[in-house]
């Protein structure tokens, strides 16, 4: 078999691996949702492209719309980078099945890296770029300029993709490497947001303009950047293949903390210990916690040090609510999915699921003590009201969490806890649910504060929350009973998606 045929075969296998994922293969509704989700966001991007083109064309006299757009190039690339988590696996993770086949590992690595570079995902932003460019570039500068501009964006996305793969591989080695992209992007955001005028606006604009003019030098520079990142990935990932194939977590854990103070709570205490240890000892679970905290701190810092949200009540409310629900959202939307790994053991104990759900609820309510600490500086300087925090604290614990817990009845896809960081985290239904659950409370808060005024609107949210907290035993038992009614279907799903 020649190299090209082998390349095609490996690519075909990779496509089949995605297509035949147990969650998608036998689930028509899931297939429909996947297509719907894909088209939905494509439509949003198309719409945004048109709206931005028209808006910028009319609003920025004297400055071409595409210059204004290109000035924000780095924002788009930062968003693109973080969206890749959960959508793209590292090549090393896919090499294992070929370990004993007569395929050179270097060839395998080149195949996966080239496939990553040429992936359709790198063109997804074109849904935004094409309508924008068609309206703002083709008319004044022609089609050649338009294609140069698109090509430039595509190359930047490829480079961004390789940077992501590089970071991702490092993060697989150790979670602390998450700080690398976080620090780089944090620094870029600070440079762009803190000064009155974004100093990176002009360089971004010039770079994109030179693509548009088909200048040779920027293409060469981005090409060299891609090659360097490709080489760095190749070297790093080759080392990772050995680690992935011979993966064995052989070392002892440093601290086997027993949390004996929880013994007084009997069986519930045992499940609480399980919750804590699940978060401490599994990379994926730990990672979602850190990412949640990271986003909370990031939003709060931006709000503290800049005035961009000062006159936007909606954004203040958004950031406050986000801080309260993000930790719960990251783990409770996929509630029971980690437990899918040992569901048979849990199901062979009487009412263990009820105890587990109760422990999960208490644990997540305890986590709600973190947001007020992070938001305290904002409350002190008066950028966020104490009442808003009180309202969202109780509303999250008593209304939003019960809504999240409903997912325990329906979730039936096992998620890996420790092997594939943030890959295939949650399915489309879970993502749609998280979107709905996020924006409904915001609407309610807007309506409540508009009708009743600032403190009373939040007091209403708090009262609703307190009612949910007071009745938690009732609704938890209801969730448990409905889970048990669906147990066969769920267990089948957990088994089918385990180790996939």
């Amino acid at each position: 078999m020649n190299s090209y045929k082998l390349y095609k075969l490996i690519c075909k296998n990779a496509d089949l691996q995605e297509k035949r994922h147990p969650l998608i293969d036998k689930n028509r509704f899931m297939k429909f949702l996947m297509v719907f989700y894909w088209l939905y966001f494509a439509a949003i991007l198309l719409f945004m492209g048109v709206v931005m083109a028209i808006g910028m064309k009319n609003s920025y006299n004297g400055v071409a719309a595409f210059h204004v757009f290109d000035g924000g190039m780095l924002y788009l690339l930062i968003i693109d980078f973080w969206l890749r988590f959960g959508l793209q696996e590292t090549p090393a993770q896919r090499a294992q099945p070929y370990a004993l086949l007569p395929v050179r590992r270097s060839f395998l690595m080149h195949t996966y890296l080239i496939r990553s570079g040429l992936a359709w995902g790198n063109l997804y932003w074109w849904f935004l770029l094409v309508p924008f460019g068609l309206i703002t570039i083709t008319v004044p500068l022609g089609w050649v300029a338009f294609f140069g501009w698109l090509l430039g964006w595509w190359l930047l996305c490829i480079a961004n993709g390789f940077f992501y793969l590089f970071c991702r591989a490092l993060i697989l080695k150790h979670l602390a490497w998450t700080l690398l992209p976080a620090a780089i992007h944090g620094a870029l955001l600070a440079i762009m947001l803190v000064p009155d005028k974004n100093p990176l606006d002009m360089p971004s604009t010039l770079l994109m303009y030179s693509f548009l003019k088909w200048d040779f030098l920027p293409f060469l520079c981005v090409g060299i950047l891609i090659l360097l990142l490709y080489k760095a990935n190749f070297t790093l990932q080759m080392g990772m293949v050995h680690a992935e194939i011979g993966k064995k977590e052989d070392k002892e854990i440093k601290h086997a903390t027993q949390f004996n103070f929880l013994n007084r709570y009997g069986k519930l205490g045992e499940y609480l210990k399980l919750e804590v240890k699940q978060r401490m000892r599994n990379k994926t679970v730990k990672m979602s916690f850190y990412v949640g905290i990271g986003f909370m701190v990031m939003f709060s810092v931006i709000m503290y040090f800049t005035d961009i949200y000062d006159n936007l009540d909606f954004m203040r409310s958004f950031i406050c609510l986000y801080n309260y629900i993000v930790l719960g959202m990251m783990t409770l939307i996929t509630i029971m999915c980690y437990e899918g790994n040992y569901i048979d053991g849990l199901m062979s104990r009487r009412e263990s699921i009820l105890q587990l759900l109760t422990a999960k609820y208490y644990f997540n309510v305890l986590l709600l003590l973190i947001p007020p600490i992070i938001l305290l500086p904002l409350m002190i300087i008066g950028k966020m009201s104490v009442w808003m925090n009180v309202g969202y604290f109780f509303f999250t614990a008593g209304v939003i969490y019960p809504a999240f817990f409903q997912m325990a009845v329906y979730n039936n896809n096992t998620l890996p806890m420790n092997t594939k960081i943030t890959s295939k985290q949650g399915n489309t239904t879970q993502q749609i649910f998280s979107t709905v659950i996020f924006f409904l409370p915001l609407g309610l808060e807007r309506a409540a504060t508009a009708l009743l005024g600032e403190p009373w609107g939040y007091i209403l949210l708090a009262v609703l929350g307190l009612a949910g907290i007071a009745t938690h035993r009732l609704w938890l038992r209801n969730v448990y009973q409905r889970f048990m009614a669906r147990r066969y279907k769920n267990m089948e799903g957990f088994r089918a998606s385990r180790n996939s």
Partner: protein, 248 residues
């Protein structure tokens, strides 16, 4: 503890995984379940443990703790309708029974606390298994997921026996174990059966071990019971060797 299987049928698409019209496993029996791959052994265990749904029929256990209903001599419960049987049933089918981010000590302690076993009782229990564990399980800071397949198997089997169940179900307990551990398991199961009168169900591809320990052997083929052999005098050996064509 008696287990009654009545008109039990489970199919996966066209494939019949289990089709047992009537089978009673009597209290105190040590039943060996044998059959080729795909015969339905693990599926039958999962049905007994209510981990999958039967197409038709049911599995019943007699509940000694409850007074009989009017007109009945004993209280019989359907495992799919109540969780009471979980209090007296221990099982290990595969790794999905293990919480692998705990150390073996933590896992045993977790199971012990759920089953109201005191720390002293747990230590006594573990002491009996000291030789079996070969100093590789307790007192270590290794998580279960880092253990070898054999050691994971040991943890699962011990955890299943920890609550001193009246019904013990083990799927392929001899897998992954070294010869001395396999022997140790055999003796432990026989001893436990004799001491407690528990009903024990064991599936295995190891005919010798199965014949050695079982008082009764059920041979499955395509989900059906094709032989139900009284093995108190080890008379199943020849029948099984003939069926599996071992000596040809």
């Amino acid at each position: 503890m008696e287990i009654i299987i009545n008109n039990l049928r489970k199919t996966f698409g066209e494939k019949v995984a289990v089709d047992i019209p009537d089978l009673t496993i009597h209290s105190g029996e040590l039943l060996g379940l044998v059959g080729n791959n795909g015969a339905g052994k693990s599926t039958l265990f999962r049905l007994i443990l209510d981990l999958i749904k039967a197409d038709t029929g049911a599995v019943y256990m007699k509940d000694p703790a409850q007074p009989p209903l009017k007109g009945e001599s004993e209280r019989v419960i359907n495992v799919a309708e109540t969780e009471a049987w979980k209090d007296w049933t221990g099982a290990f089918v595969d790794e999905s029974f293990l919480i692998d981010y705990l150390t073996p000590d933590e896992y045993f302690q977790f199971i012990a606390r759920l089953t109201d076993t005191s720390d002293e009782q747990l230590q006594e229990f573990l002491a009996q298994f000291q030789h079996f564990m070969a100093d590789e399980l307790t007192g270590q800071k290794k998580l279960i997921r880092t253990l070898s397949a054999g050691n994971k198997q040991k943890v699962g089997i011990m955890a299943a026996m920890l609550l001193r169940p009246q019904v013990l179900i083990l799927d392929e307990p001899f897998n992954f174990l070294d010869p001395s551990s396999q022997n140790a398991i055999k003796h432990m199961l026989q001893k436990y059966n004799e001491e407690t009168g528990a009903t024990i169900l064991v599936s295995s591809h190891n005919l010798q071990h199965t014949v050695d320990i079982s008082s009764r052997i059920v041979l499955l083929e395509n989900g059906k019971v094709i032989q139900d052999i009284d093995n108190r005098e080890h008379q199943a050996q020849a029948i099984l060797e003939n069926y599996f064509e071992i000596n040809e």
